[in-house]
C-alpha cells in the first residue's frame, strides 16, 4: 500500500471545497439576498452610530418638524432624509432602531423555539413510547392555538396585571417568550421525524454498544445528523417571527410607540395615511418586506442545497 501523505484539511479548507460554497457562488439570488441581509443587519446593529438622531432621546425630537416628507418630495427638510413621523422623529433613524428591535425579537424567539423544539423533539423521538405521545400531544395542542391568539391573551393579561408601564419595560423579552413558546412544535416535529429516521441506523446501535449514556447519544450523535432540516426551518422561522412581531405590534400588542419596531412604526403611520403622510407607513413597510424576503430567499437556497433529494435526484 502506498503511504499517504494527506494532511487533514483545516476547517477553512473544508469550507472552501464544500458544496455549500460552490452552490452559493453559482446562485446570484442567494448572493444578492445575503448581501442585502448583511447590509440590513449591519445597519440595524450599528444604528446608534449610523442614525442621524436617537429616537429614544426625547430631547432630540422636535414636534414642529413632524410629518415632514422624504427628501424627494416637495416641502422636505434635508436634515430628515426619509422625512419624519407624527411626533417629529427622524424616520431613517427610527427605522434603523426599529429594524434592530425586530431582528432581536426574530432571532431571540427562534433561539427559544429551537432550544425547546430540539430538546423535546430529541426526547420524543429517541425515548419513544409515553414520553413521545405526551410531548407530541402537547405540540398538537400548542399548534391548535394560533400564535396571534396566544400572544393576544398573554399580552393582554400581562398588561392588565402589571400595567402598561411595566409592559413597555419588558416588551422585548416578553415578545421573545410569546413567539418562542407559540412556535416550538414546528421544530419538535421536524427534529422528531429526523431522529426516528436516524435512530434505526447502525451508528446509534454502535454508540449504545460502546456504553455511551443516552444523553450523549442524543446530543452528540443524533443531533448533528439532523441539523440540515433544522437550518432550513430556522430561516423560515426567523422570517415568521419577524412577521408575527410586526403583526402584534400593528395590533397594538407588541412594541410600544416609544421603542418602535418596524411593525409599530407601520401602525403609527397608519393613522396618518389618510392625511397624506404615506411615507411613515410605506417606508418601514418596504424595509420589512425586503428583510423578510431576503431571509426567505436564503432559506430557499439553503433548502435546495441541503436537501439531497433535490440536487442528486
Amino acid at each position: 500500500m502506498t503511504t499517504l501523505t494527506t494532511r487533514p484539511a483545516s476547517r477553512w479548507e473544508r469550507f472552501r471545497d464544500s458544496f455549500l460554497l460552490y452552490s452559493f457562488k453559482r446562485d446570484l439570488i442567494a448572493q444578492l439576498s445575503l448581501l442585502v441581509f448583511i447590509l440590513l443587519v449591519a445597519a440595524a446593529v450599528l444604528a446608534p452610530w449610523l442614525a442621524p438622531m436617537n429616537p429614544y432621546d426625547l430631547a432630540q425630537i422636535d414636534i414642529l418638524a413632524s410629518e415632514l416628507p422624504p427628501f424627494w418630495v416637495d416641502g422636505s427638510d434635508p436634515t430628515y432624509l426619509m422625512g419624519t413621523d407624527a411626533q417629529g422623529r427622524d424616520l431613517l433613524s427610527t427605522i434603523l432602531y426599529g429594524a434592530r428591535v425586530s431582528l432581536i425579537i426574530g432571532f431571540g424567539a427562534v433561539a427559544l423555539q429551537a432550544t425547546l423544539g430540539i430538546c423535546f423533539g430529541l426526547l420524543a423521538g429517541y425515548l419513544g413510547g409515553r414520553v413521545d405521545a405526551f410531548l407530541m400531544r402537547l405540540a398538537d395542542i400548542q399548534l391548535s392555538f394560533s400564535t396571534l391568539m396566544v400572544a393576544i391573551v398573554v399580552g393582554a393579561l400581562f398588561k392588565a396585571i402589571f400595567g402598561g408601564g411595566t409592559f413597555s419595560d419588558y416588551a422585548v423579552p416578553l415578545l421573545v417568550l410569546i413567539i418562542g413558546l407559540a412556535e416550538w412544535p414546528q421544530y419538535a416535529r421536524t427534529v422528531r421525524a429526523s431522529v426516528l429516521a436516524e435512530k434505526g441506523k447502525e451508528y446509534v446501535d454502535a454508540a449504545r454498544v460502546m456504553g455511551l449514556p443516552s444523553r450523549r447519544i442524543m446530543f452528540r450523535h443524533i443531533l448533528p445528523n439532523t441539523l440540515s432540516p433544522i437550518f432550513v426551518i430556522s430561516t423560515v422561522q426567523v422570517a415568521n417571527a419577524i412577521i408575527s412581531e410586526a403583526a402584534l405590534s400593528f395590533l397594538g400588542l407588541g412594541m410600544p410607540e416609544t421603542q418602535p419596531s418596524l411593525g409599530s412604526l407601520i401602525k403609527s403611520g397608519f393613522d396618518y395615511l389618510q392625511s397624506g403622510s404615506w411615507w411613515i407607513t410605506l417606508i418601514p413597510g418596504l424595509v420589512l418586506v425586503v428583510l423578510v424576503l431576503v431571509i426567505n430567499l436564503l432559506g430557499d437556497w439553503l433548502r435546495d442545497v441541503l436537501n439531497p433529494r433535490l440536487y442528486k435526484g
Binding site: L4, P8, Y203, D205, A207, R208, V209, G211, R220, N225
Partner: protein
C-alpha cells in the same frame, strides 16, 4: 467456571399478534480467549443472541427468561448504569456494515476519544494517544492522519479496521463480531478476518463470531453453535462439526457449500425455507424440511412431529435431533454393525 455462561436464554418480541419467541432455551459458554462461532440462516436468531448478550434488544423485544452470567455478574438483571460499564468496556461489538457503524458527522478521533472518555477518566490528549496506538495495531496506513478524518474519507476495509480498533479500545474481554466481513469484498474479507484473529490471539480476547460463512468459522473458531429457528441445534468443537455433522440441518448446510457439489451439477440445497417464528411446526422445528423423518426402513419417526428434541451427546458434540438420539441408542446395542 467460564467467563461467559448463557443458560436457557429466552428472548421474545411482544407483537400485536402475541409474543414471538426469537430465542428458545439457548445455552452456551465462552472461556477467556476462546473463539466461538454462531452460524445459521438469516432469521435464525444469531443477531438477537448477540444483542441480548449486551441486553440491548430493541423494543418490543425483551429477555423473558434464562441467565447470562459474565465474570460472575448476572447481566439480565443488571441496572442500566451498571450495564453501560460492561458495554464497550468489557464486551464490545463489531457490526456488519462498516459504512453505517461510524457516525458520519464526527471524525474518527472524536469517536474514539468519546468512547474512551465514557469509561475512563482521562484527558483528551491521553485518549488520542491510546486511539493512535490502537489504529497502529490494526495496521491502518498513516494512522495519525486518520484521527482527523471523517468516515466518508476512508474505504470500506479501512473503516472496518477503525471499527476493530474501536472495539479493542478499552481492552475488552469479549468481542462480539456480527458478520464483520459480509459487506466487504473477498480479498479484504480475508485480511480483516486474519487481523481480527491475530489481535484476539495476541490480547487473549474472547471472540463470538456470528456469520453464515462456514469457511470463516472453520478457520477462526475453536467451537461453534448451529442455530435454527431460535434454537441451538448443534454445538461442539468446530473441526468435529465441520468434518462430521450430526444434525441433518448442519449436514444440509455443509452440503450446500459450493465445494461439496460435483462440478457441472446443481448446488445442493436444503428444500424449503425456515419457518416463521410466530408459526413454528410442532415437534422438531426442522422436521418439515428434514429428509430423515422417515427411517431407512420406510417407517416414520413420530417423535419428530410431536416432541421437541433434547440435546444428545455424540462424541464431543451435542445435537438436538431424534434421529441422532435413535442412532446413539441403537449403537449401545452391541449387535449393531458400525459403518
Amino acid at each position: 467456571m467460564s467467563l461467559l455462561d448463557v443458560n436457557h436464554l429466552d428472548v421474545r418480541f411482544a407483537l400485536r399478534g402475541g409474543d414471538v419467541r426469537a430465542l428458545r432455551d439457548v445455552c452456551f459458554s465462552l472461556d477467556r480467549g476462546e473463539r466461538l462461532g454462531i452460524v445459521g440462516e438469516s432469521g435464525a436468531g444469531k443477531s438477537v443472541a448477540a444483542f441480548s448478550l449486551l441486553n440491548l434488544i430493541a423494543k418490543p423485544g425483551y429477555i423473558a427468561g434464562g441467565s447470562i452470567r459474565f465474570d460472575g455478574q448476572e447481566l439480565t438483571t443488571l441496572s442500566d448504569r451498571a450495564l453501560r460499564k460492561v458495554r464497550g468496556h468489557r464486551m464490545s461489538m463489531i457490526f456488519q456494515d462498516p459504512m453505517m457503524t461510524l457516525n458520519p458527522v464526527l471524525t474518527i478521533g472524536e469517536q474514539m476519544v468519546e468512547c474512551l472518555k465514557a469509561h475512563r477518566r482521562i484527558s483528551t490528549r491521553e485518549a488520542r494517544g491510546i486511539s493512535l496506538n490502537k489504529l497502529q495495531q490494526v495496521q491502518i496506513p498513516s494512522p495519525e492522519a486518520r484521527l482527523d478524518q471523517y468516515p466518508h474519507e476512508l474505504s470500506g476495509g479501512m473503516r472496518q479496521r477503525v471499527i476493530i480498533a474501536i472495539a479493542l479500545l478499552l481492552d475488552p474481554d469479549i468481542i462480539i463480531a456480527d458478520e464483520p466481513t459480509t459487506a466487504l469484498d473477498v480479498t479484504i474479507q480475508a485480511e480483516i478476518m486474519a487481523l481480527l484473529l491475530e489481535l484476539c490471539e495476541k490480547h487473549n480476547v474472547g471472540l463470538i463470531l456470528i456469520t453464515h460463512d462456514l469457511g470463516v468459522v472453520s478457520q477462526v473458531t475453536q467451537r461453534m453453535l448451529v442455530m435454527y429457528a431460535g434454537r441451538v441445534i448443534e454445538q461442539g468443537p468446530t473441526r468435529e462439526i465441520i468434518n462430521d455433522p450430526q444434525h441433518p440441518y448442519t449436514q444440509g448446510l455443509i452440503n450446500a457449500l459450493p465445494q461439496m457439489a460435483t462440478p457441472g451439477s446443481r448446488l445442493n440445497q436444503i428444500p424449503g425455507s425456515m419457518p416463521s417464528l410466530s408459526n413454528l411446526p410442532s415437534g422438531c422445528a426442522f422436521h418439515p424440511r428434514c429428509s430423515f423423518v422417515e427411517r431407512a426402513d420406510g417407517s416414520r419417526r413420530q417423535a419428530c412431529h410431536d416432541q421437541v428434541p433434547e440435546f444428545v451427546t455424540s462424541g464431543n458434540c451435542q445435537a438436538a435431533c431424534h434421529m441422532v438420539a435413535e442412532m446413539i441408542e441403537s449403537e449401545r446395542i452391541p449387535a449393531e454393525e458400525q459403518d
